[in-house]
């Protein structure tokens, strides 16, 4: 495991990147989806045993008959993409400069079960704000990397690529792009990476915005860890967050598996596209309900069926379900709790989206982020906020970073 030598001996070249999945891989996926062997229907009428058969049938049917990967590829290739080697690993990233002078450089980190596909809809509003209800002075230059082991970035061959090491790589990336003043953003894994970056406080990093606050106070975490009832003195908002974190801690099977046995589940996810699709649907109960509705023909904000399958297909074609799952293992072996208060000194901004699976209370958030420059509860949106509500999300980022420009 390398220790902080990121970029020291690396090839500093930044190379343009185009997506071009081989035709035989596309044909193989088209063969595998209709050949899937379904399990029997769940013996319950809700999602209590996991993703429901009817939803997976809807998804598999759409994936087979309507979906076109080449459309996704064209969409990606219309955006400037690059790779560069950092700390021994090829890092893929989208880099869109605003036409505005003095645009604020921003590095956005995606999470699981996502990818850069999650962030595509915010590129335009952030880089070209005047066309999307913003002022010229709100413009960002946007950098959206694929996490190590995700999408088109390299797959680490050795352990050690947790949020801290990823954050060090991001600092190298921004430096390599010539940015001397920039901000960072993320939810899900992106919040952990952005917080790690803020703790490292590399030269030029002005502050961060997160759409998932890591805020549980140390004393309260102990209660959750021991399975104890919530402390008696919690406010209603804190009690709700307590229950949500306790549920997320103990009742999400995929997190436990990816945290402990990523390789074991990997043999399945590498071999069955429909199994992979079901696995990626089962993130949190709120998102799942929306996604089940989406594949039944209803809408889910700005997320379309094609969007969701773009992301799923990206995991499939790059064969990254296992390398992506290992990020959970990397976090797990540190012994650090994901939900623990971020404990940050750098300026931090937080947006709480109402359908996020943990609803961060202001009281805990302001103690977790010691220099909380912005806190706002958005009108709508959930865990995949940038994907689902790109306009609202972009407005949050404009407001959050206004004082740091």
């Amino acid at each position: 495991m390398s220790t902080g030598t990121a970029g020291m001996s690396a090839d500093p070249a930044v190379r343009p990147f185009h997506v071009d999945i081989a035709e035989e891989a596309v044909a193989d996926l088209r063969r595998r989806i209709p050949a899937w062997r379904p399990p029997e229907r769940e013996p319950v009428d809700d999602q209590s045993q996991g993703v429901q058969l009817a939803t997976v049938r809807d998804l598999a049917n759409y994936w087979t008959t309507e979906y076109d990967w080449r459309r996704c590829e064209a969409k990606l290739n219309a955006i400037p993409q690059f790779t560069t080697e950092i700390d021994g690993l090829d890092v893929h990233f989208i880099h869109v400069r605003s036409s505005r002078q003095n645009a604020l450089p921003l590095i956005v980190s995606h999470g699981w079960p996502g990818s850069i596909i999650e962030q595509l809809k915010i590129i335009e509003p952030l880089t070209n704000p005047t066309q999307h209800g913003g002022a010229a002075s709100d413009a960002f230059d946007v950098v959206i990397p694929s996490l190590p082991g995700y999408g088109f970035s390299g797959k680490p061959a050795a352990a050690g690529w947790g949020p801290d090491r990823i954050a060090r790589a991001w600092a190298v990336l921004m430096q390599r792009l010539g940015y001397t003043r920039y901000v960072a953003q993320g939810g899900d894994w992106g919040t952990a990476i952005s917080a790690a970056l803020a703790r490292q406080a590399p030269a030029g990093l002005l502050g961060i915005h997160v759409n998932f606050a890591q805020m549980v106070p140390p004393g309260v975490l102990g209660h959750i860890r021991n399975g104890d009832p919530a402390p008696a003195d919690l406010s209603a908002a804190e009690k709700r967050a307590y229950d949500q974190v306790a549920f997320a801690t103990y009742h999400r099977g995929y997190g436990v598996i990816q945290g402990t046995r990523p390789q074991t589940i990997g043999y399945s996810l590498a071999d069955t596209p429909v199994g992979l699709a079901a696995w990626l649907l089962d993130h949190d109960t709120g998102s799942y309900e929306h996604l089940a509705q989406l594949f039944a023909g209803h809408s889910f904000g700005a997320i379309t069926r094609d969007d969701w399958l773009d992301n799923t297909s990206l995991y499939w074609f790059t064969n990254t379900p296992t390398s992506a799952a290992r990020l959970y293992w990397e976090q797990a072996i540190t012994g650090r709790n994901f939900y623990a208060a971020a404990d940050l000194l750098l300026p931090a901004a937080v947006t709480v989206f109402p359908e996020e699976y943990v609803h961060a209370p202001h009281s805990w958030t302001e103690k977790a982020y010691h220099n909380l420059i912005y806190f706002h509860e958005a009108e709508k949106g959930g865990h995949f906020a940038a994907w689902e509500q790109p306009q609202l999300f972009s407005e949050e980022l404009r407001a959050a970073f206004r004082t740091l420009r």
Binding site: P39, G255, Q263, S268, L269, P321, L327, I333
Partner: protein, 311 residues
């Protein structure tokens, strides 16, 4: 996979007054096209990248699965297994609305003691085949004639050639009641029961239910620690004082068992993992290999939307 087994699954009426007590002989014959399909899938296996560690701490290692898949695809013959099963008397009978498959081998010795053995996960009746000879024909296997057993080896509901329940509720309590009915239907008025793993849960539940005729049980997996130990394990109560060294080791092992990953996933989202396990033979093989290791006993911290219970 009842349909591949070649027997017809009757529609369930859900009426207890219609109960069919018939015991039907059963043979397994998987159609050739299913075997060809399995071979095709094995040959088409797409592998993940190699684990990033040099041990099994991330799960089943790639070289193990490569060796397994290679053997499965080139050296393995299902028909051998089928012939071995069909050499034993097998039956199905409907109990509590569900078709139950079982092997039933009577000893040639008079006064053989009837014994019902329950398998576990990731097993099946196949786990028990090697004990059929020694138990039913002890004289040929270093035992005495009066050691003989009549053997009943059922497939758990949802396993092997038993039906897959279409509704919730087939817990060890319900299965234990069904086993008592199997033994009753076979005409046994005095019998014993045995099990490990899930089989231990069914078997000790039978002992609690104490149906007429059940003379005793044997377990090769103890799953009911004393109440104060249970409270400490699952309820966050303090570890009981005065445990011996052996008891402390068992306490730690129970804790590890509780944290076991497959229990978490199969306990929380069996349907989600099911889509992968039914579609990928290599994925299924890896999942079943990873039954017990020391790897999950380590402390793990929560990750987004999921974490193991704290160690």
């Amino acid at each position: 996979m009842p349909e591949t087994a070649g027997f017809i699954v009757e529609p369930k009426k859900g009426s207890t007054t219609m109960t069919d007590l018939t015991i039907r002989p059963f043979e397994i014959h998987v159609p050739d096209e299913h075997l060809a399909e399995l071979q095709r899938r094995i040959a088409a296996t797409r592998q993940p990248s190699k684990e990033t560690v040099a041990d099994r701490s991330q799960g089943v290692q790639l070289t193990t699965i490569q060796a397994l898949v290679t053997h499965w695809g080139t050296g393995y013959d299902w028909r051998t297994c089928e012939a071995k099963l069909n050499a034993l008397p097998q039956f199905t009978t409907e109990i509590d609305g569900l078709g139950i498959h079982f092997i039933h081998v009577k000893s040639q010795h008079g006064n053989a003691l009837p014994l019902i053995i329950t398998h576990g996960w990731p097993g099946s009746v196949l786990e028990m085949l090697e004990v059929v000879g020694p138990l039913t024909d002890p004289a040929a296997h270093g035992g005495r004639a009066d050691d003989a057993f009549d053997l009943v080896l059922p497939s758990l509901p949802g396993y092997g050639f038993s039906d897959q329940p279409t509704e919730v509720g087939w817990d060890p309590v319900r299965t234990a009641r069904a086993w008592a009915e199997v033994m009753h239907r076979l005409g046994y008025t005095r019998y014993v029961a045995q099990g490990g793993d899930v089989g231990a849960a069914v078997t000790d539940t039978m002992a609690i239910q104490a149906p007429d005729g059940l003379a005793g049980i044997h377990l090769n997996f103890l799953r009911r620690p004393p109440p104060d130990v249970t409270a400490a394990l699952f309820g966050g109560a303090p570890v009981p004082e005065g445990l011996t060294e052996e008891e402390r080791a068992a306490f730690a092992a129970f804790g590890a068992q509780f944290r076991k990953v497959y229990i978490t996933e199969q306990g929380q989202s069996p349907q989600t993992i099911g889509y992968s396990l039914t579609d990928s033979p290599a994925g299924l093989a890896a999942w079943m290999l990873d039954h017990d290791t020391a790897a999950t006993t380590r402390s793990h911290a929560p990750s987004p939307a999921g974490s193991p219970p704290a160690a």
